[in-house]
Amino acid sequence: MGKGRRQSPFLPALYKGGKTLATIAVTMLGLLFVTFFIGRVMPVDPVLSIVGERATKEIYDAAFLELGLDKPLIVQFYYYLRDVVQGDFGTSLRTGFPVSGDLIRVFPATMELATLGTLIGVILGVPLGVLAAVKRGTWIDQLARVIALIGYSMPIFWLGLIGLLVLYGILGWVGGPGRLDIYYEDIVPTVTGMILIDSALDGNWDIFQNAISHIILPASLLGYYSLAYISRMTRSFMLEQMSAEYVITARVKGLSEREVIWNHVFSNIKVQLITVIALSYAGLLEGSVLTEIIFAWPGIGSYITTSLLSADMNAVMGGTVVVGLVFVCLNIFSDLLYKFFDPRAQ
């Protein structure tokens, strides 16, 4: 490597890129192996669940061989891997459709929810964090801390239940469980799978409004979690920067406090902040599992859970792999972003 480094500046970059790709590949391989392993130790006989309880010995054996269950585990893993790489997660026993199709259908619902949640978290959390840092030690700082602590401590499924009870059941301010009222369902043509975007594209504002009334409560709950995390991180990034000497220089130059905070300090934490937001987004994609169940939200979280409860292992494995993949990608994305935009990290 030493020689190459001197000859061309591209080789190290190539080397680094290759290393990142290898890291992703190894992580994904491990992820697949763990899911595969979980699927195999499940106390469910995959043959029985296909051929049924009353199948004859011959049919059972034929299915057994067809599934490749006579092969060693590592060979089975190889077959599984080969299928997954081609986008084939097998067939869901519960829905009867290919798992990959199911996942494409349910994923946008989760993404819609998590995106809106993150938006809420960023819009409220970043200013709260900045304010807490600027007014450090005052009651505003304490308040921000308490808000975040409550967010960290709240069981989300319980808060969701109470929210539904009060805001939907008693006050009727928001829509109930599900993405739309039942008579609005399946009207808007599916383009992205995200109802807010689809209905807007279709120009159907009634449905748009209805969708908003349904999504606002679960998205706010997720947003609250994201807010707790983002505001705390923002505060500590801000404090770290505000103790730097360039801040004094800027003040000495006679800049107003507002200019110092927003133009100097805040622009220095942007990159760190984006990585935090990416991580929080990944967290919400996962954290939406319980929220989706409470709100009967037909996303990937409730897909995995209902499949799990009906011992539909193909669906569970497929769902877990997809969530894991998104998780890994977001992690690496935030990592790269950091390296790319922040010269100090190089």
Binding site: T27, G30, L31, V41, R145, Y152, P155, L239, L290, V323
Partner: protein, 308 residues
């Protein structure tokens, strides 16, 4: 012991001295000063007191609980809070919610304790071995850690419980399996900073083997950052356990696990709000207490990351 001044004031001065006379003295003084700054923060103390009460309730649940948590009384089902005999109301089978919450605190503490023993120890082992051995062992162990970190935690726990079967012990295992990687990361980072320090070289020159160095010299130095992280994670453990219980994958009925109680109460929530609300409040209070305590402990034990 400088017993020259046996009064309380003298003890205080002795504990606050800058010039300790022995190793034990220095350790005691450090503990005392930590306790003072810990005590100075009212929020931390609130968390601490809540947890003391929780432990007390869990320990003496059979004496404190007004009813048998499993005794059904169908004549007195779904009594609202504040009714005679049922301070927090009764559930759909006429069981006293307060008594069930009290017994449930045992399950919560049981789960938290087990996870807190298993996960950090596993992480400590992996992290220190990776950090101290370096080379291939480091690469392989850290890659495994990253794979587990890459997993969405709740989904992984769900899948594990599904594979192992529902139940408290399996929930503990599943949560531990998803909780250890951050500890491994922390211990590895600590080990890397300590590994090449002079005192380790000195110990090695005295003839200490790797095992002795890791267990007697590296582990003690990893403990304080681990403890901080553990206290901050406890709330997450409680929430994860409650989530699994809520999904029916943790403690099984009729066990008074708080998450499972919410799940039972969910069916009646429109007309009988208290059945699901009370256990939720309990979960919230306890995890808030852990978070308050963790926040304060971080300031005491880990000044470089503190919010001072």
């Amino acid at each position: 012991m400088s017993a020259s001044d046996p009064t309380n004031q003298g003890l205080r001065a002795w504990l606050l001295t800058d010039t300790p006379t022995s190793r034990g003295h220095a350790r005691l003084a450090a503990w005392y000063q930590g306790w003072l700054s810990f005590r100075a923060n009212p929020m931390t103390m609130i968390g601490f007191v809540i947890l003391l009460i929780l432990v007390f309730i869990a320990a003496f649940a059979p004496w404190l609980a007004p009813h048998d948590p499993f005794a059904q009384d169908l004549a007195a089902r779904l009594q609202p809070p504040g009714s005679e005999n049922y301070i927090l109301g009764s559930d759909s089978l006429g069981r006293d919610i307060l008594s069930r919450l009290m017994y449930g605190s045992r399950i919560t503490l049981y789960i938290v304790t087990l996870v807190v023993i298993i996960a950090p120890v596993a992480g400590l082992l992996v992290g220190t071995i990776a950090g101290y051995a370096g080379g291939w062992a480091d690469v392989v162990l850290m890659r495994i850690t990253d794979i587990f970190l890459a997993f969405p935690r709740l989904v992984l726990a769900l899948a594990f419980v599904a594979a192992l079967g529902a139940g408290i012990e399996n929930a503990v295992l599943a949560i531990s399996l998803t909780a250890w990687p951050p500890y491994a990361r922390i211990s590895r980072a600590e080990t890397l900073t300590i590994r090449h320090s002079d005192f380790i070289h000195a110990v090695r020159l005295q003839g200490a083997g790797p095992l002795c160095i890791i267990t007697r010299h590296i582990w003690p130095l990893c403990i304080s950052s681990l403890v901080v992280r553990v206290t901050l994670d406890m709330a997450g453990i409680i929430l994860a356990a409650a989530g699994l219980g809520f999904l029916g994958l943790g403690a099984q009925p009729p066990s008074p696990e708080w998450g499972a109680m919410i799940s039972e109460g969910r069916r009646f929530i429109l007309d009988h709000w208290w059945v699901a609300t009370m256990p939720g409040l309990a979960i919230f209070t306890v995890s808030l207490a852990f978070n308050l305590l963790g926040d304060g402990l971080r300031d005491v034990l880990d000044p470089k990351e503190g919010s001072n």
